[in-house]
């Protein structure tokens, strides 16, 4: 899951990015409205956390432009403008959620999760696939009744593939959803994470789709 964070305040931006990363999201962080608009236009973003009082372009204008261009990426507004009229305006120009500053980090993360699951048309908070169950809120994965000890990236990869429900994803796409653009990535990072997951769960948990990449396997098949 790749999240675009648009926040001009250095300290707050750093704090939110840390919180999101620890929740196993890849975070791209921009500090002005124009850059936010460009980043959203480039695509491959699952959610935008948007401050409104941004330099170079106000957050409200960013939302308007994104929606006018037909973009349907979920947008969570995070703003010091927290009067009812401000919230109404934000939601009515196309934001999906609105959180006033100051906020509780767990609440921000819960809203991010809610928006993300709704954006793929899911209502249940946990992800289920056969004997595999994933709880994005607690960052835990249960495989055949045992809690797995996964790194954040491994958890993120598993979550990504489960959200796709068996549809394959290219290596490039997977990498983009695991790493922010300012993070160092080894060229075979995705293959390493896939290898680790296969080792920790079951070799059949992830299918290699020739010429495309990887998809969530059918664990019951693998077990058979």
């Amino acid at each position: 899951m790749r999240i675009l964070l648009a926040e001009d305040d250095a300290s707050l931006g750093e704090g939110i990015r840390t919180a999101l990363r620890r929740a196993a999201y890849a975070v791209d962080w921009v500090q002005d409205g124009a850059s936010a608009l460009t980043a959203i236009g480039d695509g491959d973003i699952d959610l935008v956390v948007l401050d409104l009082g941004l330099p170079r372009m106000d957050g409200i204008d960013v939302i308007r432009k994104v929606r006018a261009a037909g973009g349907n990426v979920p947008i969570l507004v995070l703003s010091a403008r927290e009067r009812a009229s401000d919230r109404t305006l934000g939601l009515d120009v196309g934001a999906d959620d609105y959180l006033g500053k100051p906020f509780d980090t767990p609440e921000l993360l819960a809203r991010v999760r809610a928006l993300l699951r709704r954006s793929v048309g899911r209502a249940t908070p946990t992800l289920e696939a056969g004997a595999l169950s994933l709880d994005p809120a607690r960052l835990t994965a249960i495989w055949k009744g045992h809690t797995l000890d996964l790194t954040r990236r491994e958890f993120a990869l598993l979550r990504l593939l489960m959200e796709q429900q068996g549809r394959p994803l290219g290596r490039e796409t997977i990498q983009q959803h695991l790493y922010g653009w300012d993070e160092d990535v080894a060229s075979n990072a995705v293959d390493v994470h896939v290898h680790q997951l296969r080792r920790k769960l079951d070799p059949g948990i992830i299918r290699t789709v020739r010429g495309i990449g990887y998809a969530l396997g059918d664990p019951s098949d693998a077990a058979a």
């Binding site: 305040d9 250095a10 300290s11 927290e82 980090t105 767990p106």
Partner: protein, 462 residues
Amino acid sequence: MTSIRRRLLVVLLGVLSLLMLLAAGLSYRAGLQEAGEMFDARLVQSSRVLLSLVDEPLSDLSAFPGDPIVLRGWHGRADGVGEALAFKDGHAYENKLAFQIWAPDGRMLLRSDSAPTAPMASLSPGYADVDIDGAQWRTFTLRSPQGRWFQSAERSDIRQELAEDIAVGTLLPLLLALPVMALVIWLTVAWATRSLRKVSTDIGERDLDRMTPLDDTKLPEEVHGLVRAVNELLQRLDLALARERRFIADAAHELRTPISAVKVHADNARLATFDEERQESQRLLARGVERVERLVSQLLSLSRTERSIGKDAFRKLSLDALVSNEVEELRALAASKSQVMNLVLDTADVFGDEFSLGLLVRNLVENAIRYTPEHGVVVVSTEQTGEQCVLTVEDSGPGIPKDLQDRVFDRFYRVIGSGAEGSGLGLSIVQETLDVHGGKISLGTSQCLNGLKVTVKLHTNA
């Protein structure tokens, strides 16, 4: 409490009463004088009439000494005034008139029955005022060619009575006018002060949410000055309140982000899985708290500066000493960025408030340090040119683009991408301080360091 109405009543009625008493006194005196002149003339005339009538016949009688002749007057009883005292055969006042005639040898020849048997006055010609049986009399004595003495007398209280009548006649209508005047004054004052009461009701209706000017269209021009002064005060209060409200709103708004940052770092520290993550978040949390602290202290400084430094607190200060003190406080900050700090301080005097000028210097130098990269240079200089002193702060930082140079004085404005964690209040405080001191600031490019050059000009004397 003094009441205009009561005071007007007392003063006006008091003065009026005094004037009336004075008028009555004057008319009494004038009446007394006029009556005196008239009665004196009549006294002489009656003496002369008496003389011309009886002097000759008395010469015939002089050979026959005997008891003096007594002429009898009317002796009825009567009370009242005017016509009530007059009768067909006499007048009640006849006994207030008397005469005597004396022979040259001092023998009484003739008298009215109202006159005593002793001489009413000494036998010498002219007027005299005498006391007879406890009453005041006015006498006139005339000597005939034969040496007889003719004395006419008249009770003085007749004159006083007349004068009193005249005085009372003058006083009475005035006395009757007194209560009318009091009523008129009372009503007039009530009418005139109604506008004052309206103004006070209007002022009473004003509060923090209703600072509209008072309406002076229906008020007498005497209270226009008052109303105008109150309106000006209301306007000033309204402005000050609006500024205060804006300040509080701005401050509340601007505190939200730094406080959010503190909260996020605190949450991150609390929820961290690994020790190094927790330590990193705690470090960021500490920095966030410091930033809030600085922001709050700057907000307080700004609010204090805005609340207008009393010009009474202005005095002559040494600008170079002030700069030297403030820079000393900031040396640690510059050292942490391995910056070189140069002072070129010529003696310069400045007239102003020590606290806010110190704040001005600190903000400018702190800005220079914050926005200049590590290993940079900051130069602070002072000099005096005639009536002005000049403070210059130059740095080797990135400077401020021309089109943003005006905006940096806006409250909470921060230049994008500058990387420094400022509050956006520093230059607002500087501007506010300069406004109070009548100083000027200009931004430019440093010739020697290529960074920003801030020049501040202040007055040396009051």
